[in-house]
């Protein structure tokens, strides 16, 4: 008895409506499942990691050189001084927000836009910048460098 409710007799003529329904539901299932499966595929962009950035091994960075990195949407600069000390700052120049860089001949931080200069403590020492660079904390754990904002 129950069978006849759930499985009515096969109609000799393919019901057009059933056909449409079947296609429709299949299409709906596809339209629902396609975004879900696409969603499951992780995007190529790096995973969000904002508070504690891993910048690689301490040994990989030579003395008197720098490395640029990104914190959220802000540029950052990591510097290893001549004496091997690690310093990190928000690389946004406090003058007009250009990105600063490290000058290893003068051993200071320099902004190409208007010749602003900062010392290795981030203090603005010459040119138009009105304020020092915001420092980030550098933590070295088991040879790995981490940046904490």
């Amino acid at each position: 008895m129950a069978e006849s409710i759930l499985f009515p007799e096969k109609q000799s003529r393919r019901d057009f409506l059933n056909y449409i329904l079947g296609i429709g539901f299949a299409g709906l299932a596809g339209a629902v499942l396609y975004p879900i499966f696409d969603y499951l595929e992780p995007p190529k962009a790096p995973e969000v990691d904002v508070k504690n950035l891993d910048l690689g091994k301490d040994d990989d960075i030579p003395k008197n050189s720098s490395k640029m990195f990104k914190v959220g949407n802000t540029p950052g600069i990591l510097i290893k001084t001549e004496s091997g000390e690690l310093k990190a700052y928000n690389a946004t120049c406090t003058h007009l927000e250009c990105t600063v860089q490290y000058k290893n001949d003068e051993k200071l931080i320099w902004c190409a836009c208007h010749n602003g200069r900062y010392d290795l403590n981030g203090k603005n020492i010459s040119g138009p910048p009105p304020a020092p660079l915001t420092p980030y904390k550098v933590i070295v754990q088991a040879g790995e460098i981490f940046i904490s904002t």
């Binding site: 409506l17 059933n18 329904l21 709906l28 990104k70 949407n73 927000e97 250009c98 990105t99 836009c113």
Partner: protein, 490 residues
């Protein structure tokens, strides 16, 4: 016989007449001798001291040229005492108001009895106040004007006239030991510098029209440079210089332009200093010197501008223009940027267009400089266009509500590239220029693509929604009909 007697009588008459005339003359001169009782001669202080020796005679001696002496103001007007008595005890008695030799601020009080305006002005000037507090006057009147021999300012022998004033001021301000007791941080090289300046050179040759200390600093009203009311406070300097240098009549014989201030007012530096109050902007003295005022040498213009614009100065010095300009005795930076009327450089200064500075020299299209300028111009124009296009693409996406924070992050670097590239022009090196500007193209391309992709995604969402809606609507309709059919059957 009677005629001869008369003639003898006439000779005696002549003698009498002559004697009479001589007597008359003597009487007359005797009168004048008596009326040579002048006011001066009535002043017993003066009379007495004139007859003394050494340092007691000196004041009276000197006083002969003093303007007060000629105007009838004598010793007791300042020293007090009784000028009518020649008895020392009476004339120099305290009861009669004698104060002896006045010292310090006493002197000023005495002068101020008549010269009250100057005194009040001096009180509020830099010389009137001292670092130890008000009331201790640094410089009293006699330091600059002298004492007992004060002549009018216009007189060539006045200590405060023309070339003399320079040495008068210098007598304290060039004395290191003396200045140290007042303001150890104050420079003492002003006189030395002044002697190297155009003003200094001319004034010692007798030109009284050029500027001396008082022309710029004032006389009684000298304020510290740091005081905004000072005539040599950074924002006031242009006006001070302009007082002479802007007066065409005054400057007629010197054959130099008089439009510097007018030009400067419209310049970047002028606007920064005078309108925005930015004291770090240069005024006349920063480029020309203050005490050693003279225009910079044609070949040292770069160094002077380079004090602030270090990067550009270095780039220019490394460029072929440096030697070329030197050969032609051209004023380096000022050739393209002008001297007083420096305006913010624009992209149309570069290239071969109407407003370009390159074609001032590089007139021929075959000329290598002309070609370089032309290439640079077209590249920068192209970058500017790309910057706009990329910016629009990002803005378009943002307005549609799409996330473009990544694009904006890399697009932000465009600012730096534009500034760097525009400045690299000073190298006049096409390769360096291309290297710099290509960074910009990379950025704009990436930004444009990201922005366009975001917009594409926006439309994709709506398109996807449209397709899904159609699909679901068909399904709904099919279901509805199925329902109807099922219920009909039942």
């Amino acid at each position: 016989m009677n005629c001869n007697k008369i003639i003898l009588n006439n000779s005696i008459n002549k003698i009498v007449i002559i004697l009479g005339i001589v007597l008359l003359i003597k009487v007359l001169t005797l009168n004048s001798l008596i009326s040579q009782e002048t006011p001066q001669s009535k002043d017993q202080c003066y009379n007495c001291h004139l007859q003394l020796d050494g340092k007691f005679k000196a004041p009276a001696d000197m006083f002969k040229v003093d303007v007060h002496f000629h105007k009838g103001i004598f010793c007791s007007a300042c020293h007090g005492g009784d000028a009518s008595s020649d008895d020392m005890d009476k004339s120099m008695s305290k009861e009669k108001g004698f104060i002896g030799i006045p010292k310090g601020s006493q002197i000023l009080k005495i002068c101020s009895k008549c010269h009250s305006n100057e005194y009040n002005t001096l009180l509020s000037s830099a010389h009137g106040e001292s670092s130890t507090g008000k009331g201790i006057i640094i410089s009293s009147c006699i330091v600059c004007h002298g004492i007992h021999n004060i002549v009018p300012v216009k007189s060539p022998s006045s200590k405060v006239n023309g070339a003399n004033i320079v040495n008068t001021c210098g007598s304290c301000h060039s004395n290191a030991a003396y200045m140290k007791s007042y303001d150890p941080g104050l420079a003492i090289d002003q006189l030395d510098k002044y002697k190297t300046s155009i003003h200094g050179q001319r004034i010692f040759k007798g030109d009284s029209k050029v500027a001396n200390c008082a022309s710029c600093h004032g006389n009684h009203d000298i304020k510290h440079v740091k005081d905004p009311k000072s005539r040599v406070y950074p924002t006031n300097i242009p006006q001070t210089c302009n007082k002479c240098h802007g007066d065409a009549n005054y400057m007629k014989e010197y054959n130099i332009p008089t439009d510097q201030y007018e030009k400067y007012k419209t310049s970047v530096h002028g606007i920064a200093l005078l309108e925005k109050g930015d004291n770090s902007a240069p005024s006349c003295n920063r480029c020309h010197g203050d005490h050693g005022a003279s225009p910079p040498d044609v070949n040292s213009v770069t160094k002077v501008c380079g004090v602030c614009h270090a990067l550009n100065a270095q780039m220019f010095s490394d460029s072929p223009h440096k030697d070329a300009f030197e050969q032609k005795n051209l004023g380096e930076c000022t050739v393209c940027h002008s001297n007083h009327g420096i305006v913010h450089p624009t992209d149309d200064m570069l290239g071969t267009g109407k407003r370009s500075v390159c074609i001032k020299c590089h007139t021929q299209p075959q000329d290598r400089g002309y070609q370089t300028a032309s290439v640079m111009e077209s590249m920068i124009d192209s970058l500017n266009r790309d910057v706009d296009i990329a910016g629009n693409a990002i803005q378009n996406a943002e307005q549609k509500g799409m996330d473009v924070s990544d694009a904006k992050f890399s697009y932000n670097d465009i600012k730096k590239v534009l500034i760097t590239t525009r400045n690299i022009v000073h190298y006049s090196d096409l390769n360096k220029f291309k290297e710099s500007i290509n960074e910009g193209f990379k950025i704009t391309n990436k930004a444009k693509i990201t922005g366009e992709e975001a917009v594409k995604d926006y439309y994709f969402r709506r398109y996807g929604l449209g397709v899904s809606t159609i699909l679901i609507t068909i399904l709904i309709l099919a279901l509805y009909f199925k329902l109807r059919k099922t219920e009909k059957k039942q």
